[in-house]
Symmetry: C2
Subunit: 361 residues, 2 copies
């Protein structure tokens, strides 16, 4: 069962670096659009999730933000009409490098145009038009989704009243670029990547994807959390005693189990495109400087949330974002949480994030 809705465009979609012939755009919705059509919450995702942010009558499986969206939850679907969009370039319904190009009848692979965060933000426009939503109540995003939400607010100020940016920033810093660049190189140098021309059913560079996912997990969590959670505990999985360098510590099992679940669930080429899009994003490009870009904003309020243990989007970046926004959005709030789960805190530290989000809505 799927609650996924597909909007099949009957015209070209113009990207920053090319155009797509009649792409599909996938999304899910919860709640009901009110008569004034002013209660839509638009949610952009991080790099890898699908549009299934929460369970739905048509798909009761838990979504990636299950605790946050629903009746009597922080984003209350009795009040709000929530729309979550599967990012353009991803592989969960929206057209991406793993989709067939109708112009050629072949899978795009590396013929897909360079993807930018702005393209993902713009892909919301046809969906909102289809849903007959002129202006969204709030655009929300975490991690890459926060960049996309900011990008949406910069490019479509008339369509956006409020912004919530979570564990994100106005641009990628070199440390995060280095981590993602290395993840991409790990995938690209797996011989099974084959310049992007792998058998999609076989998932191609599975080893590269496993290693890249492990590096992702390391960058998404924190040393402090793992010290408390794992310490030097040895793995309870059957140890691979024949292998001098095999799994020994519990933290190694944890990474292995997480990475295995990712294999086959995400297309490698899509991952490469989305990862690069994050590196390329710089809100300053919308005006020559951050200050000049933010003159475009026309928001009633903004909430910027960051986490002290986030090494991918350090708290300092959220302070910078909020400070740059303040002159143009009078009601800008900055919220620094002391979660220890690093960048991923917004997915797991619900005791801190629920009240933070509920407070805004």
């Amino acid at each position: 069962m799927s609650a996924r809705q597909l909007l099949q465009l009957d015209h070209d979609f113009v990207m920053k670096g090319g155009r797509l012939n009649r792409p599909a755009l996938a999304y899910e919705t919860w709640g009901t659009l009110n008569a004034r059509r002013d209660n839509c919450v638009l949610l952009f995702t991080g790099l890898s999730p699908s549009a299934h942010a929460a369970s739905h009558p048509l798909d009761p499986s838990a979504g990636w933000w299950e605790d946050m969206i629903g009746a009597d939850k922080p984003i209350d679907t009795q009040r709000y009409f929530v729309v979550c969009i599967n990012s353009l370039g991803s592989c969960f319904g929206s057209t991406g490098p793993a989709s067939i190009n109708p112009s050629t009848g072949k899978v795009y692979r590396l013929d897909f145009p360079v993807l930018t965060v702005e393209d993902i933000a713009n892909s919301a426009i046809p969906i909102l038009a289809h849903l007959d939503v002129e202006q969204v109540h709030t655009v929300v995003g975490a991690s890459m989704g926060g960049m996309t939400a900011l990008s949406f607010a910069l490019m479509h100020p008339e369509r956006c009243q409020r912004l919530v940016s979570i564990s994100s920033g106005s641009r990628s810093q070199p440390y995060a670029i280095a981590l993602r660049s290395l993840q991409r190189e790990i995938i690209r140098t797996d011989p099974l990547w084959n310049q992007g021309n792998y058998d999609l059913a076989q998932h191609g560079p599975v080893n590269g994807m496993r290693l890249a996912r492990k590096l992702g997990m390391i960058s998404y969590r924190s040393a402090e959390e793992w010290q408390i959670r794992f310490g030097r505990e040895r793995s309870s999985d059957t140890p691979d005693t024949d292998n001098l360098f095999g799994i020994n510590f519990e933290v190694e099992s944890y990474l292995q189990n997480h990475a295995e679940r990712f294999i086959g669930a995400f297309d490698a080429n899509c991952y490469l495109y989305l990862s690069r899009a994050m590196d390329l994003f710089d809100a300053a490009d919308h005006g020559g400087s951050l200050a000049a870009s933010f003159t475009h904003l026309s928001l009633r309020s903004a909430l910027v949330i960051g986490v002290s243990s986030d090494s991918l989007f350090p708290l300092q970046q959220q302070h910078e974002l909020a400070a740059a926004m303040k002159p143009h959005v009078e009601d800008t709030q900055m919220l620094a949480l002391d979660s220890i789960q690093g960048h991923d805190s917004f997915l797991v530290d619900m005791d801190q994030f629920r009240p933070a989000i509920a407070g805004f809505f």
Copy 2:
């Protein structure tokens, strides 16, 4: 020209997990042993450096701690007789997995016994005996070398008067284990590793080594340093415009250039053994708990130095080490530096490290 000295043992060397048939031990020395033979400073290295810590009349090339060792430098070779040891298991003279096993006439490769930090510490004993040094003035080490120095002080309390531990700890934490485990997996899953049976002259898994080194560099530095140093500067190297995912940002060039220099300079199997040794080390193994282990110590003084931006050995670990040492070493000093260069600060932030080390000596 080389200043390296080789001690060829004529007997077996007993390791925690096996024995080596007549290994060689490489070291370099600076300064002169005094008549009382009480001015020896014993230096253990991090994972990858050789024993060439400083220039020498026989080898004027700069060493890896050039600013620290020499006449009128913090470790003044006019006063001290400095001995730096190439770690057992490494590939710069001391016997390791890339050496020939005299028992078989073949390269050890994965037949080399499991390596521990304690084995590296014990390899100093024959060298000190050869140099006729009964007791060292100070044992010093940074990173893995700090673990080795601590291990030496725990196992040979009568041979050691003072200890300096830099950016190290009493054990590896799970975050650091995860990073090293991933580096090893990257190397081991390079098809050219071939279960350790690569052509040594061809350097085997060069791609795996390049990627592992890049991950090392990311873990050795800090986000703050790179933000100041690189920002979002584009690479000045000829951009690889044909490659959608090639080098674009300066931070990517920096990693590439650093990693290329590592290829061919370090043997992959040696790297795997030394990396695993760091994970396995836990000073608590010497007594059942850290407190019980440290009752073995018989030091006159100890200096523990850490750096606020170190993510591999967070400052908290140095505080723990110093606190655990204090009941047994009355003159224990803890020094927290606010260098921004992360774990590598002891190699690069000389303005802070020179006075710190000079103050001790």
